[in-house]
Subunit: 475 residues, 2 copies
């Protein structure tokens, strides 16, 4: 592991390729009003929730309504060697949707059908534009649910493409574990299928796992089969306040090491709770807090809760507040899911530079505590939330994007944090992806050899580099 040698900057490298008018004309002939070149539509598709700005929007947006649409759009783009950027709901935090090399956006948000629910097999097959909340709404009556929950109401396509996770990953895994099979339009416009709905398979290269997390650089997902789970018989949530971040973190480490099958364990620091209280009119104690949830049978949930309460008490945890009704639980978890928006609203006009390191659980305290000291020393406002059961946490440094000093400070903090996480055997990104901004970190994390292997695969599968170029690595 080599430390990255240069600072990263918020202005992405832009190397626009030409989009010939002939391609636009062909797209308009094929797609009619489903191909738009309106400025406002293009601009909507040329940005995401990242802090990146100043990238020209894509030259056109195709609203795909079927696999055939996606295939035809990619075929035409391939013919002209023009970049294709798949678009779901635009909730990427890492610049995945920016047209840094120009090209066209293929918006799959209208491909939003749940194609089949196989309740007996605990699987579901969806189009990529289905969002996670929509999916859970549509399968509610079956007594099953899809647990992966990034903060945003992201599309399943986007979540698959970025290997997303969320608060439930500690028990249910990430998109890596929960995508079973894919239909994908490749860089040549061909439609292929990977995987089956069988729970396990040893049939050749694991293309499903290669494509999950490939950030749109190898193809456009057009169908996704997922694992779903029986709604737990009993659910119980708890909030526990701690005298220090350290105490909360050591409680988490002990819970995981003891093998308690906790469903969620989220950290918020006192400062973030203050923001959430203001935003959502809550009155949570403004000290470090763990938000926890237990899934299982009534007896199992009770047992888990008792074990955790014992551990927490040992580390000085106090004022356990329990929530067993759905309404009470929703109130608590809304607070957690609102943290990002609460923080953004606390500093008008700001953007959040979100970190995403993930370390082996035994290193969590080391990684987190030193980074808090560093951040506090700069005086920059931030929020801090963490899927701490997985060793994953996010600082959100709140910066005014036009203030160079603030940008630089946030960058420096992120840089130090990532280097610390890598030294501790962790990763620069637990769930947001590499996108535009973490390419140096990726090289530092995995070494040139592995990145070269990724590049070799990319060149072989996308020889003209048209699939979301300029993301993950430079070619």
């Amino acid at each position: 592991m080599n430390a990255p040698t240069s600072h990263q900057h918020l202005a992405p490298t832009i190397a626009q390729r030409e989009v010939p008018p002939a391609l636009i004309a062909e797209l308009q002939t094929r797609f009619g009003t489903n191909c738009s070149t309106a400025q406002v539509i293009r601009e909507q598709h040329g940005r995401d929730e990242s802090a990146f700005t100043h990238v020209p929007p894509p030259a056109a947006v195709v609203f795909a309504e079927s696999t055939q649409d996606v295939s035809d759009a990619v075929r035409l783009a391939a013919q002209y060697k023009v970049p294709v950027i798949p678009f779901g709901v635009g909730s990427s935090l890492e610049g995945h949707l920016l047209a840094v090399q120009g090209g066209i956006s293929v918006d799959v948000s209208r491909m939003n059908k749940v194609l089949s629910i196989n309740a007996e097999d605990l699987t579901v097959t969806v189009q990529p534009g289905v969002t996670r909340k929509q999916l859970n709404e549509e399968i509610k009556s079956t007594g099953l649910f899809f647990p992966i929950d990034p903060g945003a109401d992201a599309s399943i396509g986007g979540m698959s493409a970025t290997r997303a996770s969320g608060t439930n990953a500690v028990r249910y895994g990430t998109m890596r574990e929960n995508v079973l099979a894919l239909e994908v339009v490749t860089a040549s416009g061909e439609v292929i299928r990977t995987g089956t709905r069988a729970k396990k398979s040893a049939a050749g290269y694991d293309l499903t796992r290669l494509l999950v997390g490939s950030e749109g650089t190898l193809g456009v997902m057009t169908e996704i089969s997922l694992r779903i789970y029986p709604l737990p018989e009993a659910v119980s949530a708890a909030v526990c306040s701690f005298p220090s971040i350290e105490a909360a973190v050591h409680t988490t480490i002990a819970i995981i090491q003891m093998g308690v099958p906790i469903a969620r364990v989220e950290l918020l620091d006192g400062n973030t709770i203050r923001m959430v209280n203001n935003y959502a009119k809550l009155r949570l104690a403004e000290t470090p807090m763990l938000l926890m949830e237990f899934h299982g049978s009534p007896a199992g949930v009770k047992e888990q809760a008792e074990t955790v309460q014992e551990i927490a008490t040992e580390f000085g945890g106090q004022s356990f507040e329990w929530a067993t009704t759905p309404e009470e639980r929703t109130r608590l978890w809304t607070a957690r899911h609102n943290a990002y928006f609460a923080a953004i609203q606390s500093k008008p006009g700001c953007r959040a530079i979100s970190t995403d390191t993930c370390v082996p659980i035994s290193k969590l305290a080391d990684c987190l505590l030193d980074s808090i000291v560093e951040a506090d020393a700069t005086g920059i406002p931030y929020f801090l939330v963490g899927h701490v059961g997985d060793g994953n946490f996010h600082f959100g440094y709140l910066i005014d994007p036009s203030n160079a000093h603030e940008c630089e400070t946030a960058e420096t903090l992120n840089h130090k944090l990532v280097n610390r996480a890598l030294r501790l055997g962790g990763t620069c990104t637990g769930e947001h992806g590499i996108g535009l901004h973490k390419m140096d970190f990726l090289r530092a994390e995995t070494g040139e050899g592995a990145v070269d292997m990724m590049r070799t695969i990319k060149r072989a599968l996308d020889p003209h580099n048209i699939m979301n170029p300029g993301k993950i690595f430079s070619l």
Copy 2:
């Protein structure tokens, strides 16, 4: 999904490439007595537990003792464009170890050190020659265990390369879910690293998962980081007899659909139990049987067991026999793990043609019952065991390899079974891999498009096709 159009045969396609004496000389200079060309050593390394015969052995065997050894051996082979076949303990069931295109065997069984145990993080890093039993022996004192248990005492390298699993997969997943990070020698002899010990990551292409299950065709694994688990506080095993296979299978389906976190649920048919009774001097009832195991807290295990007993009783399950002491459990599970050897011994001189289909759980009864009727109609002896909680089961057709009629009958049965599994949305191989024998099945399962993508990746990463060529797909 297209049905395979031609029958498969037990004689693999052999297209030996020349191994120049100059390469052997260079290997002997570099490795001294750790490079052997003795006939008996070569023959040991030219076969495995599959039914394939009549393939000439590799030209030489290099006993690697370090990553550097593997790298040097691959570099020399690459220089002469000579195939390299990685070898662990030789327990493949699919011909992975056969030198169908000639070449050299790189035996990693002496790379058998547990490099680090990170008990606090529930991870361990091992060399590829460590076997699963050795690993569990070496971590026993930490209170942790590694759950993946194919029948053989396979090497962790071999298990990773074939995406193996076993009886515990229903709760703990397969090698896909449990390999965190790899060190790999690529086709050029370069050493790369993939993944980290962090529990989750969204850092670029998931090379770890691409390599797991690639059957030695993309590189040689030289270090493997794995997830390990706290030994459950309580374990309880049970045997339950059923009036019919159908009743046993429907019990399994109900257990899974209700979300009972059962650790193991294995099916044996009456005929297989008879073989096991003879072999191991047991007196199990010779009717269809489920062998089950529950892991958790004492209360949790009790609760699971009660739920399962209720379900089983509904389907006519009877004479539950419980085993709570380690000795009793070992006795039961030894029976299961001995099924293969018991069957082989029941027909002197026979080989087993093992099927490995895996289907979505709701299709398990359809797939299994029709295949039993088919097998019974032929009169061929077989054993039948199944990791039925995953929808995965194995027929082992017991054939005299010199009897063309028996071979043909077994092939026809396997063929029909696979086609049935594919029609039901399943896979031709749950855990053994494609190897030499299932290439047509792979194409039928995933389509030419996906196999072409695999080939494109293979050609890009191994341009001279030296890494275990002739496996998974033809080039």
